[in-house]
């Protein structure tokens, strides 16, 4: 049985269609992350799941039950908001028990649930404070606590970490992930931060302009992005996407960057991809390659030496981050980013040698912007 199933969901606000036919399905215990740029409809989708907005067309099922006409309180969900939405005049204790009070849970059970959650989130000392007396991180915990006192079918999070500073955000990210593992609940988590999506999700739905561009596990999203949008949105720095030409020689299919130029680069296309890329032989494609697939010359990718292609390219800029150095280079007239070991000194302006991993090349149709292979 799926914990959440959304079928052909559409939603419009006036003339603007905000959700254009969404299909999603997750099983019990999954951590679904809805990720996409601001304004793409993530919050609207979450609100429709919660019942705070009505679906225009299509169905929402929670735990096998169609809930289109069920009130939010009867959907068996709990939600954490971006602004935390704590009730300003209530204490932390009252904030957490308010929902149980509305549902007429007996007092002793309320106390028990409150104690359990306060211990879980380590907010026991804060119970008698008002939200205005809490720090951002503490408010965030209380908002989590308000959701966790329920034992719902579905937890909904709308960018719960985006108001925290960077350090706290990373801490809370790990905590939520551990929490998910510990209580085994099904979660739907909205974020515009692709790192949060990659690190927390068991499955990611990448959204753009009201459509799901790709719905898959994080590894697939990262390595086999279904569209150019996904390729460029996920990953920091993002995937290099450059124009290339596919040609077929005796030794198999190859992609050429800057075809016809004196500095053209020829990259062999791995056999696994060649079959699907066949129809694009002698045509223009968009080649995608992750920055970490371009590294210093002596790096070896995988066991098969043929996958590490040596290239030479002029270095235009370097950005040492400490853990690695990002290199901007020019390949066949195109600008590409690579990631090399931090001990390597690369003089700017001079050509340098790199190794390029061809196993993870992605080829996109320039017309549809969809993945070919």
């Amino acid at each position: 049985m799926s914990a959440l199933r959304i079928a052909r969901l559409r939603k419009r606000f006036g003339a603007q269609e905000v959700l254009k036919g969404i299909d999603l399905e997750i099983g019990s215990g999954e951590f679904l992350v809805l990720v996409g740029p601001s304004g793409c409809g993530k919050s609207t989708l979450l609100n429709v799941i919660a019942g705070l907005e009505k679906a225009g067309e299509g169905t929402v099922e929670i735990g096998g039950r169609v809930v289109n006409d069920v009130a939010p309180k009867d959907r068996d969900i709990a939600m954490v908001f971006q602004s935390y939405a704590l009730y300003p005049t209530m204490t932390v204790r009252q904030n957490i028990t308010f929902g149980m009070e509305c549902r007429r849970v007996p007092r002793p059970q309320q106390e028990e649930a409150l104690a359990r959650v306060a211990r879980l989130l380590q907010i026991e000392a804060l119970l008698n404070r008002k939200p205005s007396q809490l720090s951002g991180g503490q408010r965030q915990r209380v908002a989590m606590g308000r959701a966790l006192v329920r034992d719902p079918m579905l937890f909904l999070f709308d960018e719960p970490l985006s108001n925290l500073d960077a350090k706290l955000r990373v801490e809370m990210r790990m905590e939520i992930k551990q929490l998910h593992r510990r209580i085994g609940a099904t979660m739907v988590y909205v974020t515009h931060d692709q790192i949060e999506a990659m690190t927390m999700a068991t499955r990611i739905a990448v959204m753009h302009q009201g459509e799901v561009q790709q719905f898959a596990d994080p590894e697939t999203i990262y390595n086999r992005p279904a569209t150019l949008f996904v390729a460029r949105f996920m990953g920091a720095p993002p995937m290099n996407t450059v124009a290339a030409r596919l040609t077929g020689g005796a030794e198999g299919l190859a992609a050429i960057i800057g075809a016809g130029r004196p500095d053209e680069i020829r990259l062999p296309v791995p056999e696994e991809l060649a079959a699907r890329a066949g129809p694009f032989r002698d045509r223009e494609v968009v080649l995608g390659i992750r920055p970490e697939c371009i590294a210093e010359a002596d790096r070896r990718f995988g066991a098969d030496a043929r996958h590490s292609v040596p290239i030479e390219a002029p270095v235009e800029m370097t950005e040492p981050t400490g853990a690695e150095t990002i290199v901007l280079m020019r390949l066949g007239g195109e600008a590409l980013l690579g990631r090399v070991s931090p001990d390597i000194r690369l003089p700017v302006g001079a050509p340098a040698r790199f190794a390029l991993d061809t196993r993870k090349l992605c080829l996109f149709d320039p017309a549809t912007e969809r993945l070919i292979a």
Binding site: N47, L52, A71, K73, I77, M79, Y87, P88, T89, C102
Partner: protein, 284 residues
């Protein structure tokens, strides 16, 4: 420096002080007369300093002076005014809060029209509504009753109280309401437990506004009540009319001051909350 005492500045201050004094003259005359005896006033004129302080005027105005053949002073009419102003203020404020809450936080089809029509009431002059109210009070059997005045002031007051409260509540974030809905709270529980506790600043503003406005209202008082049912503003007129013998300016002045006292006290104690409430946001 901008605040140097230049001749121009001296002139401005002198002018302002002159205007202020001019504005305060009527109050000064009333205060002075309230402590002058009738003989004192009769011997000179209504403008003059008291020869001796006669506080007896206040006693007579409060408890024994004859108004329309009742010799109980203005105290019964003060009581009438309280019976009118307290329920009218409380009910109109609560209705305004409820209206403002639903208009600001529960969007519904045509809500802006409803709001527009309600606030139109702010701009309609009282005289326009005299005849309709006459008919309504007659049909309800509330002619010449304090309950009738309460009804009028509640209905008339809703325009202002709704306007105040709605504008205050629009600052409450929608996410708060969403969280409450998921928690299982309905329309009235959200109002009672979440919105009302956030409301003291605007409720103080609304109560002060309604109290002073209803207390000082005069036209409906004289039109719809007579005799023992009148609020104090209407009785003050009867008091000046009933002066058949020698004019009793001293007692009249004392009565005016007593009648003005409640709103004056409200201003003194509530004024700072009034200003603060008008500028406060709902949620910080």
């Amino acid at each position: 420096m901008a605040d140097r005492l230049t001749p121009a500045r001296v002139l401005i201050y002198a002018l302002l002080a002159g205007f202020a004094a001019f504005y305060l003259v009527p109050l000064l005359v009333v205060v002075l007369n309230s402590v002058r005896t009738a003989e004192d006033i009769g011997a000179t004129s209504v403008v003059g300093l008291p020869r001796e302080l006669a506080f007896g005027n206040f006693e007579r105005a409060w408890g024994s002076y004859c108004i329309a053949r009742r010799c109980e002073g203005i105290s019964p009419y003060m009581w009438n005014s309280f019976l009118m102003v307290v329920p009218a203020t409380i009910i109109s404020t609560l209705l305004g809060a409820l209206n403002g809450y639903s208009l600001a936080l529960w969007r519904f089809r045509g809500d802006n029209w409803v709001f527009g029509i309600i606030t139109l009431g702010v701009f309609l002059p009282e005289q326009m509504k005299l005849v309709p109210w006459t008919l309504v009070l007659r049909d309800l059997g509330l002619t010449n009753t304090i309950a009738g005045l309460v009804l009028i002031h509640v209905v008339q007051g809703i325009s202002f109280t709704t306007l105040f409260c709605r504008n205050y509540y629009t600052a409450i974030p929608q996410e708060l309401l969403k969280a409450a809905k998921i928690d299982g709270a309905g329309f009235f529980r959200i109002f009672w437990r979440i919105v009302l506790p956030l409301s003291p600043p605007i409720l103080i503003v609304t109560v002060i506004w309604q109290f002073t406005h209803i207390w000082n209202e005069f036209l409906y008082g004289v039109t719809f009540t007579s005799g023992a049912q009148q609020p104090v503003t209407a009785a003050l007129i009867a008091l000046s009319v009933s002066v058949s013998e020698a004019p009793q300016y001293g007692v009249q002045s004392a009565a005016v001051l007593i009648a003005a006292l409640p709103t004056l006290l409200v201003y003194l104690f509530g004024g700072k909350y009034f200003v603060r409430g008008l500028t406060a946001g709902a949620v910080k």
